[in-house]
Structures are given as C-alpha cells and as structure tokens.
C-alpha cells in the first residue's frame, strides 16, 4: 500500500510536468491547429535561457521567468510569421517545416554549447517535504502548482475574454472571424507566441529538476502530443487531466510491468484513444476536424 501511494505520488508529480509541458502545445495544436514538432525545442530553449540568466546575470531561475518567457514569445512570433503563416492550409508541410525547425534549434544549441550538459541549482531545489514516508521536492511541487494555475488562467482566458474567444473563432472559421472584424493573422501570431512563451515557462520551471541537453526536447514532444490528443483537442481541462493520465500510466507501467516498456504502454493507450475517440477524452465530437477542413 505504501509502495502504491509512493508510485501514485510519483505519477502525479510526473503528470504535473507533462501537463505543464503540453499546455503550450495545447494552445498551438489543440486550439489553433498548427502542427509544431519543435515545441519540445522551445521547452529546451527555456531551460537554456534560465541557465544563461543564471550563469551570466546571476539571476535565480524563478526570477529569470520574467525575461525568458517574453523572449520565447517573440521568437514564437517570428517563427509563426516567417514559417507557419505561409503554410496555413498545408498541415503536412507544417510537419516537415517544424521538423526542420526542430533540427535547427537543437543543433544550434548543440553547436553553441559543444554538447556539454548543464544543471542549475537554486536555493529552493534542495528543499523537500516529507509526507509520511514520501519525499516531495519543492521544485516538483512548484511545477504541479504552476501547471494547475496556468491551465486555470488559460481556460478562463480562452472562454471568458474577448481575445480568447477571438482565438477560438479564427480556429473554427477564418473567414467568418474576419467578417466579424477580427485580425486573423495577428490573432494566430499572438496565440502561437503565447504557446511558445508557455513552453519557455515550462522549460524554466523544469531546470532545477532535469539535467539539460540539447536533445531533451525529444523526451517531451511525443508525450506532449499524446497529452493534448488524449485530453481532448482544444480542451484546457482535458489537457490538464491528460497530463496526469500520461504521468500515472508511465509511473504505474514503469513500476509494475517494466521500465523499458513504459513508452510502449503509454503510446498504445494513446493510439487506442486516438482510434476510439479521435476528439479525445473531453473534446467535443468532431473536434479533430476543426481547422483541417478547407478554409476559403
């Protein structure tokens, strides 16, 4: 029983990480339906950004947030404007272009750092709390809380504010939204920028937990797509829950079956959900077709 609660806690904390990492992708892929395989690389850039702030400016990673997130947002704007905007109606070209971007970002960082791995210590990263026999580190707890807060804010933003409603409107029907006076391209650009900024946020908050390498984005990207599709495309609550589904599957599968097979279990679950309910656990029926229909 104690073992089980240990695994459960581990799975929940892992779920927090996945929920946080996929929240940006949820906006980019789930809501505005742009395929971005380079999303994991934006998380990686967030981590290296936090490291750069720490080693050159002496700023604590948690403070570096205020610098890294806007910078990654700007980078996202540029990526949208020059790469994704011209490919608006061609989802398969987006797959290839974002794979190209993935290679560029990953290997640019590899070239700059020379392949050395870094880690960052903050005064907070050594604090742990005991909960019975389970030790929970503060930095993982912060990730969990941040995932919940970001999901809540994003959910309210998308449903209750005019700009959030505009984002959902352009995803559903570009022409209709334009006729209602929405600047379509600017809305897409801002959504993409918020998505990459959120990836940066995830990256910064993960720096105390992971040793960073240029390839670390690859650990997140397939899981993030699984989370977004599992939870339900476009549903913020769905993606939040999806994160925990993935985290718990990984923890339980890794412990009771075989750590090597955890990905096999995870992605089998993902494929089954994709087949049985392509719109995801909390997505509206037919949600998978939105944004893929021909737009005029």
């Amino acid at each position: 029983m104690e073992q089980f609660s240990n695994i459960l806690t581990l799975g929940l904390l892992l779920g927090g990480i996945y929920a946080l990492v996929s929240v940006g992708l949820n906006l980019i892929f789930g809501v505005i339906r742009i395929i971005n395989f380079a999303q994991g690389e934006f998380v990686m850039l967030g981590m290296y950004g936090a490291y750069a702030c720490y080693s050159f400016l002496g700023i604590d990673p948690y403070v570096a947030l205020f610098l890294v997130v806007p910078v990654l947002g700007l980078l996202g704007m540029a990526v949208y404007w020059f790469i994704m905007r011209p490919l608006q109606n061609e989802s398969m070209m987006q797959v290839f272009a974002s794979f190209g971007l993935l290679l560029v970002l990953q290997n640019a960082v590899l070239g700059i750092t020379g392949g050395l791995t870094y880690s960052v210590n903050t005064p907070l990263s050594n604090i742990t709390y005991g909960l019975g026999s389970i030790q929970i580190s503060l930095s993982r707890l912060i990730v969990l809380i941040a995932a919940a807060v970001v999901a809540l804010v994003l959910g309210v933003f998308l449903t209750r504010t005019t700009f959030g409603q505009a984002i959902r409107a352009v995803a559903q029907d570009r022409k209709g939204a334009q006729l209602m006076g929405i600047n379509v391209e600017r809305t897409f650009m801002w959504s993409f920028a918020i998505g990459t900024g959120l990836a940066g946020l995830a990256g910064v908050l993960l720096t105390p937990i992971f040793t960073m390498s240029p390839q670390i984005g690859g650990n997140f990207i397939m899981a993030a797509f699984a989370v977004v599709v599992l939870g339900g495309l476009g549903s913020v609550l769905g993606a939040f829950i999806g994160g925990f589904v993935v985290g718990l599957t990984e923890a339980i599968g890794g412990y009771y079956v075989d750590p090597v097979l955890k990905n096999a279990i995870l992605f089998s679950v993902f494929i089954v959900v994709l087949l049985v309910k392509p719109s995801g656990l909390l997505g509206h029926a037919g949600a998978e077709e939105v944004g893929l229909r021909e737009q005029h």
């Binding site: 395929i35 790469i83 011209p86 490919l87 061609e90 989802s91 398969m92 070209m93 987006q94 797959v95 290839f96 272009a97 794979f99 190209g100 971007l101 993935l102 290679l103 560029v104 990953q106 290997n107 640019a108 590899l110 070239g111 020379g114 392949g115 240029p214 690859g218 397939m222 797509f225 699984a226 599709v229 075989d258 090597v260 097979l261 955890k262 990905n263 096999a264 992605f267 089998s268 993902f270 494929i271 994709l274 087949l275 392509p278 998978e288 893929l292």
Partner: protein, 350 residues
C-alpha cells in the same frame, strides 16, 4: 527523360490515336521503361567511375539505399498521400529478420529478403489498418507513436534484438552472405535495390492501383463515390511500400553489420529521413526521391566530415534549414523545380 519507343506505339492499347504527339500520350510502364533503364545505366557508370574512391563509392552506396527507401515510402506517402512516419518500423523488421535468420539458422540474406518483405507487409497491414481512418497530421502522429512503441519493444525483447547493445553480424565475406570485401559491390547491390524499387514504383504509378491511390489522396469521398474501396487501396499501397522497406532493412543490416534499436528506430534517423528525402526530391513522382537522396545523403555525409568536427551537429543544422526552405518554397521538390523551369524555357522558345 525521353520515354517513347517508336516501335511500341502500334500495339499500345492506351494510346490508340496515332495523331497525338508522343510526349502528350498517356504514359504507360512500357513507355517509362527505356528512361528507367537509362537512369540505372548512368548510375551504374557512376559506380564504375568511383570504384577506386572509397569515400565516394560508400557515399553512393548509402545514397542509393536511401533512394530505394524513399521511393518505397513514396508509393504510400506520395501517391497515396498517407504520410507514414512508421516506415522505420518496417525497416527494423526487415533488418532483425535477416540478422536473426543469418545468426541462428545460417540462412542467406538473399533468401531472407522474402520473409522480411512478407513480415514487414503483414505488420504494416496490421498496424495501419486501424489508423487509416485518421486523416492528415493525425495519421502522421499515430504512426510516430508506433515508432515509439516499436522502440520500447525492441529494447525489451533482447533475445531478438540484442537490446540496447544491438546485434552484430560477423564478417564472412561471400556473395551468398551478401557481405563483400570491395565497397563497390555494396554500391552495385544497392543500385539493384534502388532499381527494383523504381520499377515497382513505375509499374504502380501507371497501373490501376496507382490511379486509385492518387484518387484517394486527392479526394477520399469522391474516390469512394466512384466505387474505389478506399481502405483496400490504402492497405495495398502500404503493404507494397512496407515490403520494399523491409527488403531495404535486410540490405542495410548486411552493409553496416551492427544494428541497435536506437539507430533503427529513433524518429529522425530513418523514418523521418526517408520521408524528407522524398519531399525534397518531389513527392509522388517516380524519380523525385532518387534526386532527393542523391542530393541529401552526400550533402549530409560531406557536411558531417567537414564541418561536423568543428561544429557538432552542423550537418543537421544545415539539413534543418534545407527542410524549412523546401517546405516553404519548393513544395514540389527538385523534380517539380526542374519540370517548371523546363516548361518555362519551352514556352519562351515557342
């Protein structure tokens, strides 16, 4: 690419009207064959010329292998429009089939080509049958997930795959073992594989199945309404494509003689690479993937040799930029660029 044989016009059932000029006729495999033979002959000449240059002949061998793989991918990915990212799975199935048959039963890789092709096609049908109802990017993401599952399974079943340490095939040179001392023999072997893939692709492109695949790609509902069995068409394309890819895996394992799950099944190394070679060459065309491989593989190896040492990852950085530029500006690939330049020049002459 002249592809008309004056002798074949008389009994050509497709082009009955003799007043149509040869280049405007509907192409058949028969009219495609001379051009194909010429391309293969030119490539053979290249191997002959490069035979004494170990770097050059190796480069050509790898380029021809990837050309064959990209041509196979193009059958279902280009003609059929199903962007499979799971082809590394079929490639790995072929490689492990041949390696195990060779190591445990001393069965020649030449014989192993058949079970490898059959097994790859069977696995391809099994896993793609359910996901074929997903469209566009969802199909691509699901097939990528299959690659992840296969990677985990390959790490788990160490008795077949050797686990993370991989399998190594001992060096026993001999034609019957598909292991050669001279590097040019591998280049000839891979030219044979590439030529076989090209022939299959050319036959399919000019056959009923090829037109069915293109109809399904361009408009699935319209294809269904015209009486085409969409799922059967997709499965047939996928099975042929996977069988060829599995055969490529057999040749690959006898060429490198050491394979591990990471090098076979990591997303970028095989699965995405062959798709991007097809994209860069020209999706859906017969010779496009060959052009793509002849450009990308030497470029990759050359960059790795000359800037990889100074700038780690420099070769992939350049490949990434090329990939972005092609998806933005040259969607029809090299083949399409050559074709549109050609029509532009012809129009100016007239």
């Amino acid at each position: 690419m002249s592809n008309t044989d004056p002798n074949s016009q008389g009994n050509d059932p497709v082009n009955k009207d003799k007043n149509i000029p040869p280049w405007k006729r509907v192409r058949t495999f028969k009219s495609e064959a001379p051009g194909l033979a010429a391309v293969v002959a030119v490539l053979g000449l290249f191997i002959f010329l490069l035979a004494d240059d170990p770097f050059g002949v190796n480069m050509l061998a790898v380029a021809l292998l990837f050309a064959g793989l990209a041509v196979s991918w193009n059958i279902v990915g280009g003609l059929g429009g199903q962007f499979s990212m799971a082809h590394s799975v079929f490639f790995a199935v072929g490689a492990y089939t041949a390696a195990n048959l060779f190591l445990h039963f001393q069965i020649s890789p030449w014989i192993a080509l058949l079970p490898a092709a059959v097994l790859s096609a069977a696995i391809a049908c099994l896993i793609s049958w359910p996901v074929f109802r997903l469209k566009g990017p969802f199909f691509a993401i699901a097939t990528m997930a299959f690659t992840e599952v296969a990677l985990a399974l390959a790490m788990h079943f160490t008795s077949i795959t050797g686990g993370a340490r991989g399998l190594s095939v001992p060096f026993k040179a001999g034609l019957e073992n598909m292991i050669f001392r001279q590097r040019w023999s591998y280049a000839v072997l891979m030219l044979g594989y590439c030529a076989f893939s090209l022939i299959v692709m050319a036959v399919i492109t000019r056959s009923r199945l090829g037109y069915y695949l293109q109809a399904v790609r361009d408009n699935e509902s319209a294809a269904l309404a015209s009486g085409i069995s969409v799922i059967r068409t997709k499965l047939a394309g996928m099975a042929i494509s996977a069988a060829l890819t599995g055969m490529g895996g057999v040749i690959f394992v006898m060429y490198v003689r050491v394979v591990d799950p990471a090098s076979l099944l990591s997303l970028f190394d095989i699965g995405v690479k062959i798709a991007l070679i097809a994209l860069i060459g020209g999706i859906g065309t017969i010779y496009g993937p060959l052009l793509g491989a002849l450009l990308i593989v030497p470029l990759d190896l050359w960059l790795r040799a000359f800037i990889g040492g100074k700038l780690p990852g420099g070769n992939l950085l350049v490949l990434g930029i090329i990939l972005i530029l092609f998806s933005l500006f040259l969607k029809q690939g090299i083949h399409g660029a050559i074709k549109s330049t050609w029509t532009f020049l012809m129009r100016r002459k007239l």
